[in-house]
Amino acid sequence: MATQEKRALLVVDDVELNRVIVREVFRDEYTILEAKNGKEALEAIEAYGENLAAVLLDVIMPVMDGFEVLEILNEQNFMEKVPVFLITAECTEESTLRGYELGVMDVIERPIIPHIVKKRIESVIELCTMRNHLNDQVAWQEVKLDEKTKEIQGLNNAMIGVLATAIEFRDCESGEHVKRIHDLTLFFLNKTAFGKGLKAQEIENIATAAIMHDVGKIAIPDYILNKPGRLTAEEFEIMKTHTVRGCELLDQIDAIHHNSVYRYAYDICRHHHERWDGRGYPDGLKGDEIAPWSHIVALADVYDALTSDRVYKKAYSHEKTMEMIINGECGTFNPLLIQEFLRFSEEIKGLMQIRQSGCRDGRRKKNQA
């Protein structure tokens, strides 16, 4: 502290003599500010705030007494940052206790003994300075840690995106497909009752997990994945395994088992082809046995497949797609989910148009050939 500029010490006392004695004790190390009553003290505290090294407060003063000042400072949590001392002519048990309860660091009785008071006060100032410094450091590190976490999360999401997009590329779907599934899932969980009870972070995690719904397709041979015509029964059986193969893939990466996204990704991979009537695969789950996030991804996947160009078909319009879904031509869904889908039809149409783009022409021609 010696090398730095002098810090300020506020002395609050209505009696000049008392202020002068404190001033004499501390004048070499501190800039002494004086206040004659509680009101003046609060004005000085307002002006100097946490730059004050300490406040030495008399109890009995005109205009506003020491305890009134303490009550206000206590409300403002000022004493968490700056140590306040009571100085009084008689320390009764009651007033000392009241002082401590209100947050003072120490209670000093008159007559003061300069060298002892100086030691007592300086020790506390040093302690508080160190504590504040430590708190600042912890706060700064928390900010840094938060930045790092966000950076890692961002990187994580980017990697997931890259992986999923790479797989989509194989069956001629652009990277936009996974982004649309992500957006639709996010939309449903945020706007409808299906996301009720889920925290914002969890909804984010589910949407990220949704990106990985088809990760198991990496295990499906090209000739099946990109076959322009109808799949044979045998080929379709192989195609269906992309659900469980996705889970196997996730299972093999130990590092992600602790990741909160993993739980959702696993469920979505496995169950995004289940049907409300129980005739889906791989487990034939029925109704509420299917987790809402997996069911939402199933609907989003169907919607996106219908409204996009595929190797075996052209894109349908939003309206035609809605009609096909309602008529049960592309699976069966929870009627409540369909109801919500209809309710937000226009918004979904708008949301998806931004991201709409089909398969690249070159690839499609080649595949169709």
Partner: protein, 115 residues
């Protein structure tokens, strides 16, 4: 300050040695406040408050005077004021009044010494 005055003050129960230490051996500053003591209004306020039976005013004046006496090392005055202040804190004005003769005596002796 001349020796004669110092002796008188010592006899009036003022501990000059401990007093000057409180001013970090700044004798001039201590003297300045000793000489200012007769113009301190708290004794006057205390007397009037007793007359008017104003407990709170009496307590505040006694308490402030007690602090001043303590800081100036006026040990006799401090010792006399202390029970009076305590009585006033408890609101017992009659008990406090009973201590006043010794307070007055200590106070007037100091004033006499400072003349």
């Amino acid at each position: 300050m001349e020796e004669e005055k110092k002796t008188k003050l010592r006899l009036a129960g003022v501990n000059l040695d401990s007093g000057v230490k409180r001013f970090l051996n700044n004798e001039a500053l201590y003297e300045e406040f000793l000489l200012k003591f007769p113009s301190d209004v708290n004794m006057q306020i205390l007397r009037q408050a007793f007359e008017a039976e104003e407990k709170t005013t009496a307590f505040h004046a006694a308490h402030t005077l007690l602090g001043v006496a303590a800081n100036l090392s006026m040990e006799q005055l401090y010792a006399a004021l202390r029970p009076a202040t305590e009585a006033l804190r408890g609101g017992n004005i009659n008990l406090a009044k009973s201590y006043m003769p010794s307070v007055e005596k200590a106070y007037l002796t100091i004033l006499e010494a400072l003349k």
